[in-house]
């Protein structure tokens, strides 16, 4: 079973616009990670945010975490065609923090 749920399921934006996707989860976590998957390829780690952190930045990516609401958001600023991919949040729960639990993902399409 999957703990995380991403919202929306799909997103289509124009190049240069920002893309925001959300992730909700159910149980207490050690950390939450975001991964990107291009069509037919493996997952690439984007960013990890720990349960005691509220916001983290990496390049054009900004991740927030609200443990009281059990939710996280990923913002991609100034999107590019190369950002077209599926984005997954994955949670590492406290009791088994090696076991990542992924959501079903948000499919982002960036139109040129």
């Amino acid at each position: 079973s999957q703990q995380g749920e991403e919202d929306p399921q799909a997103l289509s934006i124009q190049e240069g616009e920002n893309a925001t996707m959300n992730c909700s989860y159910k149980t207490s976590i050690n950390n939450l990670q975001w991964y990107r998957q291009n069509s037919g390829r493996g997952l690439v780690h984007l960013i990890l945010i720990r349960s005691n952190e509220r916001e983290k930045h990496s390049g054009r990516l900004r991740v927030t975490l609200d443990t009281s609401k059990k939710s996280s958001s990923l913002l991609i600023t100034a999107s590019r065609a190369a950002d077209t991919a599926s984005y997954f949040c994955a949670t590492a729960i406290r009791s088994n923090d090696y076991k990542l639990s992924f959501g079903a993902g948000t499919t982002v399409t960036v139109r040129a």
Binding site: G42, H45, Y98, K99
Partner: protein
């Protein structure tokens, strides 16, 4: 440096056949994970190794699934008597040491059972 590699990249098996999927983790990575990804879904955890020890196999769907990592490096996921519902992408990931780090994923093996 080299990332996680998996072979074969694609496998077509007739129902009832046995298959073996190989994972070469990043050199020196202690932790190794297998995930199953159905079409349109996120990966689901199958099993976890720390060196050669299989510490968690709770995600393996049935006793037809078996994984090993005998020397603490290369791992093999074996599926016996394949069924159509086994069709999925099987992803391998490794991480350096502790279990709280990011995981580095291979490209996956797409298994199609006909």
């Amino acid at each position: 440096g080299a990332g996680v590699s998996q072979s074969p990249r694609y496998k077509v098996a007739k129902r009832g056949q046995d298959v073996a999927l190989r994972c070469d983790p990043i050199s020196g990575h202690v932790s190794l994970f297998w995930y199953q990804q159905a079409l349109g879904q996120g990966p689901e955890f199958l099993t976890y190794f720390q060196n050669e020890a299989q510490l968690d196999k709770s995600g393996l769907p049935s006793d037809r699934f078996f994984a090993e990592r005998p020397e603490g490096s290369v791992s093999t996921l074996k599926i016996q008597r394949t069924q159509q519902e086994d069709s999925a992408v099987y992803l391998c990931a490794s991480s350096p040491a502790g279990t709280r780090d990011e995981q580095y994923f291979g490209p996956g093996t797409r298994l199609t059972v006909t």
